[in-house]
């Protein structure tokens, strides 16, 4: 299962979005998030975007005040995940128009919906922005 979880964390370390593709209890999630945030947020721009943690490889990227952290299997291609993060940000950018932390906070369910279109069960299923956003736009129109 390529992708294990996707986190969005602001630079204060507050979780803004958390999507897990394997079941962890709330306590486990909280502990994991704390460890990862501590590890990744301390790193600077000159350091690489890959961190090994427990049995995960964490690929992360910072966009403005928001960190996108993706936990993957050791087999996974790190650069592909970086591209995936970028694709995710671009998609959100297209939908929200210059996406920022607040957009994700106030439209969390939309962010989840986009993720669901892109990733299912840890597999990347859709990489076309218009395909990802199609259903959301339909629903926006309907409501």
């Amino acid at each position: 299962m390529g992708i294990r979880f996707i986190l969005m964390v602001n630079k204060q370390g507050q979780t803004r979005l958390a999507q897990y593709y394997e079941y962890l209890t709330i306590e486990q999630r909280r502990a994991l998030e704390g460890e990862i945030v501590r590890k990744c947020l301390a790193r600077n721009e000159q350091q690489c975007s890959f961190v090994e943690h427990r049995n995960y490889k964490i690929v992360y990227r910072r966009y403005a005040s928001l960190f996108f952290l993706v936990g993957v299997d050791n087999e996974e291609n790190e650069l592909a995940i970086l591209e995936f993060i970028h694709l995710l940000v671009e998609t959100m950018d297209r939908h929200f128009g210059n996406v920022c932390e607040l957009d994700i906070m106030f439209h969390l369910e939309k962010a989840h919906f986009m993720l669901e279109e892109m990733v299912m069960n840890g597999c990347i299923v859709e990489t076309s922005k218009s395909n990802i956003l199609g259903p959301i736009q339909l629903m926006d129109k309907a409501s």
Binding site: A18, C48, E78, L82, M105, L108, I124, V125, M139, S143
Partner: protein, 965 residues
Amino acid sequence: MPSTPSLMDTLFQRSLEDLIKGLRLHNPGPPTSNFIEKNIQEIKKEIKSTDLNTKSIALQKLTYLHSIYSINMSNWASFHAIELTSSPFFGHKKIGYLAVTMSFCDTNEVLLLMVNQLRKDLGSPCEFEVSLALETIGIVINQELAVNLIDHVFVLISSSKSFVRKKAIVTLLRVFEVYPDGIKVCFKRLVENLENGDGGCLSASVGVFCELAMRDVKLCLPLAPEFYKVLVECRNNWVLIKVLKVFGKLAELEPRLGKKLVEPVCEHLRSNGAKSVVFECVRTIVSCLSEFEYALKLAVEKIREFLVDDDPNLKYLGLQGLSIVSRKCLWAVVENKDAVIKSLSDADVNIKSEALRLVMAMVSEDNVTEICKVLISYAIKSDPEFCNEILAAILLNCGSNVYELIIDFDWYVSLLGEMARIQHCQKGEEIENQLIDIGMRVKDVRPELVRVGRDLLIDPALLGNPFIHRILSAAAWLCGEYVQFSKNPFEVMEALLQPRTNLLPASIRAVYIHSALKVLSFCLHSYLLPNETDSYWVDSDSGEAYLPSESEILGTSNPSAVKVDQIYEQRDLSLEERRSSIENGLNTNVAHEQSSSSVPLKQDLFTEQSIKNLLALVETALQPLSGSHEVEIQERVCNVLGLIEMMQGELPNSVVQGGENIEMGESKASDIIRVVHDAFSEDLGPISSSSQERVPLPDGLLLEENLDNLDKICGEIELPMSTSFSLGRPASDEHDTGSLFNNHDKDESELSKESTSLLTEHRKRHGLYYLSSDKKEVVSDYYPPANEPKTQSNDNDVTEDLVKLTEQSFLPKKKPNQVKARPKVVKLDEGDGGIPSVIKKTESTDNAISGAVPIPLSQEVIPSDKLSSNVKGKEKLHIGQSFESNEHTANVDNSELDTSRSKRSKKHKERKHRSSGKTAEERDKNGVEDKQKSGHHHTRHKARHRADADLKVVAQTPVIPDFLL
């Protein structure tokens, strides 16, 4: 009605947006949690509403709080979530399903209530409803659900809508996980999607097969042609990466695939612009296509591009790629050595660690020196954490497999010394272990070890760093144990006693003081018995020519030209001599010494004045410590002071009174010193951790047997202590013992009347601890508990007792017919002492055998172990070997040695020397000195006793001078 919300509640319900805004207004910490708590109460009320709108908003808020603030909702909101999924409105349904996917796990009890709803939604004409159901199934699936729903999902794989199809395909992956039988049913349809699916479906099915391949490669092997088609035709990089991964797995299973694969993979490598695909191609080539040279070269070229890139991500991946290559072909790493070593100073610790791992992979016998030099220079520059990572890597690699990589041990030892001086060094424990381990295993390097140890000891600055105290402990031990290699023992002594040693923890200070005792005994020995000293060292070092410093000091002719065989002969002879001398009492020795003391001292170092100064130095430095609260320190200090006291009783006579008394005085002093010195000159060596198992079980010994009758043996002795030593021995055994020992008792006791008188005095004071039965020969009769005073003159006696002790405890039922019982003990002890020492040598020389755990034989090695019964036990076993086993083992030993020699490879020449030289002679030494060593442990009691008197004398000593150099 109180629980159902009123119309007012519904009208003025807080929306999700209100909640988020409210959360933002509150400060983090208690205010926020109070606010959340308030909202949860509201939500609990609202969620019970019959109005689906109110309910959905409540659930939406709850889901938000759950995912961001980790509020547990599965225990009370599950049912409401399921209720919402059956709403006719898509908006409600979506909120319900989102809550389910966010909070449910596959063991949730209410899941069964969902089966019907899921089935209904899977069959829905609205593709978004289908997609919601599929996503939920992917997350909450369990076996029961799988059995119930697989048919419905299966139908969807061939749906006309690509949107549904791709999701159904991915959902199947999870279904297979809990319900593997499903694979058979769906396999064909999945393959169809692989062959002619559009973008999304292809991506999904490749993803599914990639996951399946990770679990079971064989399943995917028949699909190789289909994958190949994708590999050649597909332009989607995501899919390409997955296909490459699949082929990586397949090629491991079916090597013939490699030939077919290598071309398209190289093509992608050359032409694809995406770094992710390039890296995946590189990874595929280096991990399973490395036999194709041109492909490998291409891959290594790409790796180099990554390595020199400024992007830290690419650099990191390049290093990772290299470390995969390094498992098969090291040349690729060596080719990129510069880039790798440069990465050691990268800003990113991940990159540094990766580079370090690669550098260590490059290490071989030929380059270990240069690599370590480079690494140390980086260690000095880097931050404490990485510095220690480097040091740990060096220590681990160099120490692996019994120092397999090290040829030049002198260099390695000085490297260890250098490490101690690195500012951030925190690897004290490991360095300590290696220093001592090398000291015991590698005989040739001891002079260098002593030099390194001395350099560390005399540097007062090092004492201030608690991280390297362990190293100093090792240095002190080495300088004491191998003091004969020291160029200037006086200097070592000063270093050991310098005032700043009060910064050391007690256990390490005890090592310092004990080493001081060894140095002292060596100096006195060299001064009093120069000739004997010579013969000892030549003897014990098997006449090798590596002792120039020592021969300089001692001014001896070193028979380095003597061939090894001759040395063996010599040793056998000296062995014989020594035994006879022992058996005939010490008369010959005395005579010998008397003649030897008349020989003028050749060396300049050990003059009367220098010895006197030394004694004064030690006394002033240690006197204040004799009242230390640390028992380890106090005991050892008393040992040293006691020895000095004794020597001062003897030495000044020869000096002051001159003439008549010289011979008598010196001979007494010499005897004492010889005994002390002999105790220290036994060689310590590593012993295999399994050596105990190789001890043959003697006849009649029942290890499992209940030791009830131990009470009977002990019952005869009234000893308050219950240590293993308090076993004592029945007085009746006294005359049954072999004549061997009794002779010595007499000789010894005659020789040391002084000690005896002291003993009697002590006995008066601590009568409680002595045996009640009073024999004519007081000395040989009493048996002290472990911590009781004992004069060194009794050591033969102790040995004797110990031998008996072993006999008794090993043969509890036998009648104390010692003459008959002894051979068995001999056998046992021979196995115990003899075989392990042989094993030890084969192990340290033949590197194929690993796992030789050095177990120090004497207490001095690890002071903290000192009082453990373990050590005592070992001592016991060892002693048994003392006289009897010598001859028996000599032959076995040589033959074993030969086999081990033939196994050895050329490169380990040094070790060869050591093992060939050591064996028989060591046995010889073990024989005599072991015994005396055991005796030595008891000398301190007397020493302490005497120290009481010393206090008055030394009260008037001047202020302690600063011994800093």
